[in-house]
């Protein structure tokens, strides 16, 4: 990493208010870091209080700083079996990398390491040319990606954590990841002891994995007609009713035809649409508008309807009971942005590409090899290739950290 970046990072930690480093039960967490200019992680550290941690960071400036989601009796023990696991936060990782947004074609590229085939946009799982799986990606973010990630966070909190899991806002900490998304830390005593299997069930719940509408109120009545859940129900029942209502009120005949797999059935539903929607809204609801539609097809409609309300999270992070995750309010070495804690009330207006920028003094000269259009703060530039630029410090550091630019004196 460039000297300029190292100097800037050091300054950041020197002037950082220790209160920014406050995390729940710091003394029980394992701390790990990757020092600037190194590849390997230094693990199994522990600090009794934030002031000691800050001193360490000033002396050993990290490119990346992590803490364990787990609480341990002996967080500094190098033997995982001797650490003495005492529970862990429930973590959700929302990463734009995992969400296929259309803007990826504008700023992401991938290369197959086996046959060197290149492409733009969301990377394929296997190379379309040689079918190998070793794909290297070059990814960037834009406002669109970060906005989608933020919507996922709201969805997770407002539609799942609060109503279904009874989590209160004071126990949820939202952090910008410092790069392409957000981390949610749920810190309640109730959920702390969940096992990997238990956490997987929660991840599957919000991702809708294994979801069967037949267990959530959709069934055949004795007279052969179909009935479904009530909008006023909690949990997946209510979510199904609301989603089907929204879906049917705006889907086109063509879309519906594909979902139900029949022109005739799609026709019946479109003809009955008003009656059907009124029925779903009624108290108690009536699903009589689906008369003549088999349960199998109703299930397909229900599944298509909830696609937009499923959460796009990286489940591997959620199920891990010993995850090392980025330390809140520290710098991300691949962007120079701050992994800022954001309160729920500020989240709506939070602009990561502005509010997480910490380097704001003066400008620096850089030589940019290649980059798509980039915005940092109010300054926007690109797409660009082989150009020399003088840019505000925040943007310069960002390009240097991304490895897209070199420093020019």
């Amino acid at each position: 990493m460039h000297k300029e970046v190292a100097k800037a990072f050091k300054e950041y930690y020197q002037t950082l208010d220790v209160n920014e480093l406050v995390v729940k039960d710091l003394q029980e967490r394992e701390i790990a870091l990757i020092p600037i200019g190194h590849e390997t992680m230094i693990r199994h550290m522990a600090f009794p209080e934030t002031i000691a941690l800050k001193e360490h960071l000033v002396e050993n400036v990290p490119a990346h700083l992590y803490y364990s989601s787990a609480y341990y009796k002996e967080p500094q023990s190098p033997d995982m079996n001797k650490k003495g696991w005492k529970g862990a936060d429930l973590i959700f990782d929302v990463d734009a990398d995992h969400i296929p947004t259309p803007c990826k074609a504008d700023h992401d590229t991938w290369t197959c390491l086996d046959c060197a085939t290149k492409g733009a946009g969301f990377p394929p799982e296997i190379c379309p040319k040689c079918s190998m799986k070793r794909i290297e990606t070059t990814t960037w973010v834009c406002d669109r990606c970060l906005e989608v990630a933020k919507e996922e966070v709201f969805k997770l909190i407002d539609e799942y954590l609060i109503p279904d899991f009874g989590v209160s806002l004071k126990d949820v900490e939202v952090c910008f990841s410092g790069h392409r998304g957000y981390h949610l830390h749920v810190q309640t005593e109730d959920l702390k002891m969940l096992t990997t299997d238990g956490r997987r069930e929660i991840a599957d719940y919000v991702r809708g994995v294994g979801l069967d509408p037949r267990h959530q109120g959709f069934r055949i009545m004795r007279d052969g007609s179909i009935t479904g859940p009530d909008l006023r129900d909690g949990g997946w029942r209510g979510r199904f009713a609301k989603s089907v209502y929204t879906y049917l009120s705006r889907c086109t005949f063509e879309e519906l035809k594909v979902v139900v797999g029949s022109d005739d059935v799609a026709n019946i539903i479109m003809r009955n649409k008003e009656r059907l929607l009124r029925g779903i809204m009624a108290n108690p609801p009536s699903w009589m508008g689906l008369r003549g539609v088999e349960l199998g097809r109703t299930i397909r409609i229900a599944k298509a309807a909830v696609r937009d309300v499923l959460c796009n999270i990286d489940e591997r992070v959620t199920i891990d009971v010993k995850r090392l995750i980025r330390y809140p309010n520290t710098l991300h070495g691949k962007s120079g942005l701050k992994a800022a804690k954001v309160s729920y009330s500020d989240l709506e207006s939070f602009d990561p590409l502005k509010d997480a920028v910490v380097f704001k003094s003066g400008s620096i000269k850089v030589y940019v090899k290649e980059a798509p259009r980039v915005r940092i703060g109010d300054y926007e530039v690109g797409p660009m290739k082989d150009v020399q630029l003088e840019v505000p410090e925040g943007l310069g550091i960002y390009l240097l950290c991304k490895g897209a630019a070199e420093l020019r004196e």
Binding site: E201, I202, D204, D212, H215, Q216, R237, R316
Partner: protein
């Protein structure tokens, strides 16, 4: 309120333990004639377990019923055979389930509280045609439910609201009895239980049970290994095909295939042969890694393949077949099919 009859029905409760403690008995005292029936009842419970039946409730003499339970457990753990513990746990689970299924709601809630610290609450909630009898916190539900295979028990297919999961009584009974089973199984893993020595004066009883164990044991779990190709699950077959085609696999895929082969009894040499077609094959490195996984070097831990859920998360499950629906782990698939294939072959030979 839990009565003495309730404690006889549910002798795993904390209140039942206190009841036993109030007698101030040691295992030595149990040899005295006055406790003859307690020892008899304990032996009977264990025998029922080993034979795969559940011990019917004996309410005529609740004290004997309660006192016999910890002794039965001591016998079971003292026999030091995994399958005996599993069978006993199953029989106690069934007994508990049958009793709880028709129990008063208040009692069920008390069993949850006193036995497992669960905040089980009676309710009468009607939602979209379903009537629920109980609710309990998500975290209590998730202590046990992931061990069930059926999709009905997935959290996503449950009514969950306000941090609570809603259940019918029969489901609450199933969940509680499964919690009991897991408690019995987990305890067997604890160090002090592994070291437990049966007092000498009870050894004669234990020896009697050991005889029965030998009679009943129908198959030898450690029988000589013979690799049965047809018994490999679809996910492993697909990965082996990728290897044969020389494709390079992800870290997780390589780990899965290696642990699977090692655990079905393949030698390190044979495992290396599977990898030899891969473009970036480096025998020295590969041998080190395979030997590590096999527990021959390093931490000496023999690793097992990830279970189906994990393979699914990593995109290594390719959908599976009818057998996959019955299992949760690729090795379980292999063992089940291998047994079936062996049995079939046996018949063919016999015929």
């Amino acid at each position: 309120m839990l009565t003495i009859d309730d404690l006889a029905k549910y002798p795993f409760l904390r209140k039942a333990s206190s009841f036993v403690e109030s007698y101030g008995l040691t295992f030595q005292d149990l040899v005295n004639d006055e406790y003859y029936y307690v020892v008899q009842r304990a032996v009977e419970r264990v025998k029922c377990g080993i034979r795969g039946r559940w011990a019917e409730l004996n309410v005529v003499d609740p004290e004997t019923e309660i006192l016999s339970y910890p002794l039965a457990l001591a016998f079971v753990y003292g026999l030091r055979q995994g399958w005996v513990v599993r069978r006993f746990a199953n029989s106690e689970q069934k007994r508990c389930f049958e009793l709880l299924k028709n129990e008063d709601k208040d009692k069920v809630a008390e069993v949850g509280k006193d036995g497992f610290d669960w905040d089980l609450e009676g309710t009468e909630l009607m939602v979209s045609g379903a009537l629920f009898d109980f609710s309990l916190p998500v975290e209590n539900y998730l202590e046990v439910a992931p061990s069930f295979h059926s999709p009905d028990w997935k959290l996503v297919n449950r009514h969950v609201t306000g941090g609570r999961v809603y259940l019918k009584q029969v489901e609450a009974a199933r969940l509680l009895s499964e919690a009991l089973k897991l408690k019995i199984l987990r305890k067997a893993e604890e160090e002090y239980i592994k070291k437990f020595q049966m007092p000498e004066r009870l050894l004669s009883k234990l020896e009697g049970l050991e005889k029965l164990v030998k009679e009943i044991k129908i198959y030898d779990e450690d029988a000589a290994v013979e690799i049965i190709e047809e018994a490999k699950p679809p996910c492993i077959v697909a990965l082996l095909k990728d290897l044969a085609d020389g494709k390079s696999l992800s870290h997780m895929a390589r780990f899965t295939v290696t642990t699977f082969l090692i655990n079905t009894g393949e030698s390190v040499e044979n495992v290396l042969k599977y990898f030899s077609n891969v473009a970036d094959f480096d025998e020295g490195k590969a041998r080190y890694q395979v030997e590590h996984i096999a527990g021959l070097i390093g931490s000496k831990t023999k690793y097992v393949p990830p279970k189906c859920d994990v393979l699914r998360s990593f995109g290594l499950c390719i959908g599976g077949d009818a057998y996959c629906k019955k299992v949760r782990h690729p090795l379980q698939y292999y063992k089940m099919r291998a047994r079936e294939i062996k049995r079939k072959k046996g018949w063919e030979k016999g015929a």
